[in-house]
């Protein structure tokens, strides 16, 4: 198991054929909930493991930021997927996805309060106790802000990372989206985050819709996000950067061009 390195792509069944044919690929991420904990692995993933490509399970439904304790069965599943894939680490979000018996169907933001920091740290500790490998935590993109934030984003994230010892999965598109929608400076946030803790970075596309920038993962990566990749790498280049695409898959040539542009922005070799 080698850590994530260079330029990677989110493995999805719809683009398994495309991913399988990327000659320089050393690293992919897979949605953990989509990988069975027993029985055969999805075909394309098994092939990538045979090529010694690093596969990082990325959880989306643990709800680490939920006020209630994280579901042990979900943690156990993530742990078993990490083991099956011989993953060097797993990743999840600083977010909650359900509350009061209702599924939100998406990642929702926490209030940046001491109470929420305590809740997420307790859940990360519960997960860490069962996981065979380190966890990297990803700050999300959100349109809503809670009315009573006590901490700013950098202090909130740094405190969670310090208290849990977790790694950081920095999503550059989320930094762009939040700054754009809040009228803040994305570089100011980069300057205050512990960039030496970044295990890898996410990069994705989005679109303007109704006056907001939406981190859709179904649109091309905008130039502003690639510029932010360059600014991040100028400060501290992450060991790996991963392109996330979750629908409206473009023709292979376009996806290849996006991977090449990401490699160029980060100064890593092309994987195509």
């Amino acid at each position: 198991m080698t850590g994530p390195s260079g330029v990677g792509i989110g493995w999805r069944p719809e683009i398994a054929g495309f991913v399988a044919e990327l000659p320089g690929l050393r690293f992919v991420e897979v949605v953990a909930e989509g990988v069975p904990s027993s029985g055969p692995l999805p075909h394309g993933l098994a092939q990538l493991r045979e090529r010694a490509v690093t596969v990082v399970p990325h959880g989306v439904r643990l709800s680490l930021g939920g006020a209630e304790p994280v579901d042990p069965a979900r943690v156990a599943h993530l742990a078993s997927v990490a083991q099956r894939l011989d993953a060097p680490l797993v990743s999840e979000h600083i977010a909650f996805v359900r509350a009061g018996g209702l599924e939100a169907g998406h990642l929702l933001p926490l209030p940046r309060s001491r109470e929420a920091v305590d809740a997420v740290c307790a859940n990360v500790a519960r997960a860490q106790a069962e996981l065979p490998v380190p966890i990297a935590l990803e700050p999300i993109a959100a349109l809503v802000d809670w009315p009573d934030d006590e901490l700013d984003e950098a202090d909130f994230l740094t405190e969670i990372l310090d208290r849990t010892g977790a790694l950081l999965l920095l999503d550059v598109a989320n930094v762009h989206a939040n700054a754009r929608n809040r009228g803040a400076d994305p570089l100011a946030l980069l300057d205050r985050l512990p960039l030496e803790r970044v295990a890898y970075a996410h990069v994705a596309g989005g679109a303007e819709h109704g006056g907001y920038y939406h981190d859709t993962h179904t649109d091309p990566v905008p130039a502003a996000v690639l510029e932010l990749v360059g600014a991040l790498c100028a400060r501290q280049r992450p060991p790996a950067l991963l392109l996330e695409r979750d629908g409206h898959y473009p023709p292979a040539a376009e996806l290849r061009a996006e991977l090449d542009a990401l490699a160029a922005a980060a100064g890593y070799p092309a994987v195509t």
Partner: protein, 182 residues
């Protein structure tokens, strides 16, 4: 500022309650929680519905395709106050509701008939494969399942494109495959 006893922070709902209120406001038509700006809340609600519509369309491609440009709105109107029970069941519930209202397009009726033949779904719990031969019907479409294989026996009637004398022209079967893989 407020004179809370012993200098403690004034009582307020705990994180669990406040998270529940936010989710309810976003997916179940709950009251917007106090203090949240309405614009971002509405934008989040709309984004969640678009995302759900996309996920349901992957499970119900003919339902989504047969509604064309109207899919997102149809789904959003139906789903705005209904929290998701998973994309398969969301689409199933919507297809049945449209069927009951006689608004289910023919291709979507065929998709529904095939599903009804393949799986047993009581509207409450996860659908389960049928063990015995079964017939699924929706909007005039008839599908039959034997030993796990499903065949569309009869396509749903298409309204004739050109009005004919008798109102109901010969069924236009163009484009309706007799087999729909599920």
């Amino acid at each position: 500022m407020t004179g809370a006893p012993d200098g403690e922070t004034p009582p307020r709902a705990g994180l669990a309650e406040r998270q529940a209120a936010l989710v309810a406001a976003l997916v179940a038509g709950g009251e917007p929680p106090a203090g949240f700006a309405p614009g971002p809340l509405a934008a989040t609600r709309a984004a969640l519905l678009r995302k759900r519509a996309g996920e349901v369309a992957r499970h119900w491609p003919l339902l989504a395709a047969s509604l064309g440009a109207g899919w997102s709105t149809t789904f959003a109107n139906w789903a705005a106050r209904r929290p998701t029970v998973g994309s398969l069941r969301d689409g199933w519930d919507l297809a049945r509701a449209m069927h009951d209202q006689h608004t289910l397009p023919p291709a979507a009726a065929e998709e529904l008939a095939v599903r009804e033949a393949r799986l047993r779904y009581d509207g409450l719990r996860a659908p389960r494969p049928r063990r015995v031969p079964a017939v699924g019907r929706a909007g005039g479409a008839v599908a039959v399942q034997i030993a796990g294989r499903v065949r569309l026996l009869r396509p749903a009637p298409r309204p004739s494109t050109a009005p004919s004398f008798h109102g109901e022209g010969a069924p236009d079967t163009a484009g309706s495959a007799s087999w729909i893989s599920d």
